[in-house]
Point group: C2
Chain length 338, copies 2
DNA sequence: TAATTTTGATAAAACCTTTTAGCAGCTTCA
DNA sequence: TGAAGCTGCTAAAAGGTTTTATCAAAATTA
């Protein structure tokens, strides 16, 4: 027995006033529109009595705003993204926005499809981890004046707001830390990817080894999605072929988890034989034996900046777009593995 | 220079036909409504040319359906929930639905607030992990004919659809497994909670020890949210006070992670001194040394059933509500810790 | 007193769809 | 020849809001 939802019209009729009047009162424009306190009170009381709530859908239609922001992650089940999702959610709700999420699996096709379906939904903004080759879509989005903020990585060819971290600098520091701890033959394990975050981490590694004169080694693995088996086997082979490696920098934690297993299978002791640093700190690095040194991204600050930026874009849509590019520092958590 | 979005009206005007005609053609009712193939083609071609996409907001308003489902988790950044979120997302999108997520932190107040804001949004359905004391809100929701499915736990006092797992049976099996491996003094570590999933796991544990005649021990911890520090300290004290414990059943993986650390600090060897089983398998249980025996919930099947159930409720709203109660089996993954 | 301003409100358009009811004009059948 | 049925299409209402333009009555000013 679903009681019919009460609308402004019902209120107006019941109280013998006009729809306009009710709307003004609801929106706090009673004073401004010279509605008498008497009428105002009557309407407010009635609203409370019947528990009226405005229809967001109707508001969306009328105002062209949905109060919905899309959060497009590479994979929402990944700890990094789900943690950000959690922070973002809180900040969004506090500001009256809701979040619709989706995962691209780093696949352009999927990303394009998702973006195009969301455009129809009148969403107010997009927070996106861009897949490779997404430049054109992002440009379109921006031309159509959709607020967009990228994160985790960015697109050099598009002048779009983004929130990222100091990938190069932190990778440099991490590598330098390895070298300072006596590593002579460091390896850099990364993904086959020309996305900015990976490139920057690689550059950081290279600059560090170049500066100190040691000879490094690099391994780039294919992107595995969840369904496939991890890169364990490849890592195992790599480490068994290159016995002289005495330090490893993992470009992302998922590689570290697999790599640590491989090193363990090979009987390499950490940190005695091999020292280890990983990008992207994780709860489990603290539980590992030995505890793993890692670079921690400031998840909450990233989320804060993302929301701040997107809300800024949404709320001053008219006042001329200026992209905001935010680069945040990370923190190197030194633990037992180095 | 945002090009104005084209509407049905624009198409009608441009082509000199009526809005009705265009709408019929768009919705594949041309034949049925005897629109000539000639007109039909003309309209379709034009639509393709200008790239018309219907406004979902207007459709929502007109049809009273938003094609949005709410996914209300305890905490979206928790691996269990984010994994389900990932599966759900996929299944929802394939069926033309979008997912809005939110986290309750197991707090009724927050849950109530969230539900009430979502009601206004004309969402089509709710997938919920109920917090304690949420019965009334769920009842209201159901009375207002909102489709609802609960998961992870359920509310005995409400006849609402749910998808859960065989908590009691699996806890029994896990405990029984410990005992069969020679454990004489098993401990059950859980949360202070009277939610069904925890109660059932506890019952399973109790029945297993009762059946075999061994004497068990229980510890119930407070629910910690993310901001607070974990229950490490309490676990440490518990284990150091009860040196005779030679087997532990953790009711959820987060407790296991903390508990394992505590056991390690105390120098207890696993599995020689203490055998360990945990509810909720996790990628990291396989990386641990030793690898931890755990009960794996069928995440994908849970998600499938959730979507199936909610879609069923959404699409046959009229045909009389019958709650569906689905209980899925888990899998005991025996590893090195037992 | 007449003209003007202020007060307290309202009608109606707009946002974009879907869908019911209906309207000419033509064909068929008795 | 008149009634009934079909064909191809459309007008208009409804869904719930916001906002602009407008209006009558009362109050103020000249």
């Amino acid at each position: 027995m679903a009681k019919k939802r009460v609308s402004i019209k019902d209120i107006a009729k019941a109280l013998g006033v006009s729809i306009t009047t009710v709307s003004f009162i609801i929106n706090g424009k009673a004073r401004e529109q010279r509605i008498s306190d008497e009428v105002s009170k009557k309407v407010k009381d009635y609203i409370k009595e019947v528990g009226y709530k405005p229809s967001h859908v109707a508001q969306s239609l009328r105002l062209g705003k949905s109060k919905i922001i899309v959060f497009m992650a590479e994979d929402i089940s990944n700890q990094f993204f789900s943690s950000i999702a959690r922070f973002i959610e809180e900040k969004a709700y506090r500001n009256g926005y809701k979040i619709i999420y989706c995962s691209t699996d780093n696949d352009v096709g999927k990303a394009k499809e998702l973006i195009s379906t969301f455009k129809m939904r009148n969403v107010d903004g997009f927070i996106i981890t861009p897949t490779p080759d997404l430049e054109d879509v992002i440009k379109d989005l921006m031309e159509e004046e959709f607020p967009v903020v990228l994160f985790d990585r960015w697109l050099p060819d598009v002048d779009c707001s983004h929130v990222i971290v100091e990938n190069k600098k932190s990778a440099f520091e991490g590598t330098d830390h390895l070298i300072k701890e006596g590593v002579k033959r460091p390896a850099f394990i990364s993904l086959e990817s020309d996305q900015t975050q990976m490139i920057d981490r690689e550059t950081g590694f290279r600059e560090a080894i170049q500066q100190s004169g040691v000879k490094g080694l690099e391994l780039k693995l294919k992107f595995h999605n969840l369904a496939e088996s991890g890169p364990y086997q490849e890592l195992f082979e790599f480490f068994s072929k290159n016995r002289d490696i005495d330090g490893v920098f993992f470009a992302t934690n998922y590689l570290a988890f697999e790599g640590l297993q491989a090193l363990d299978s090979l009987g390499r002791n950490i940190p005695k034989d091999v020292k280890v640093v990983s990008f992207d700190d994780h709860y489990f690095f603290g539980l590992f034996k030995p505890k793993i040194t890692a670079i921690e991204q400031p998840l909450e600050t990233i989320s804060e900046k993302l929301m701040e930026t997107i809300l800024n874009h949404i709320e001053e849509l008219d006042k001329g777009y200026v992209s905001r590019k935010i680069i945040l520092p990370n923190k190197l958590n030194i633990r037992e593995s180095t």
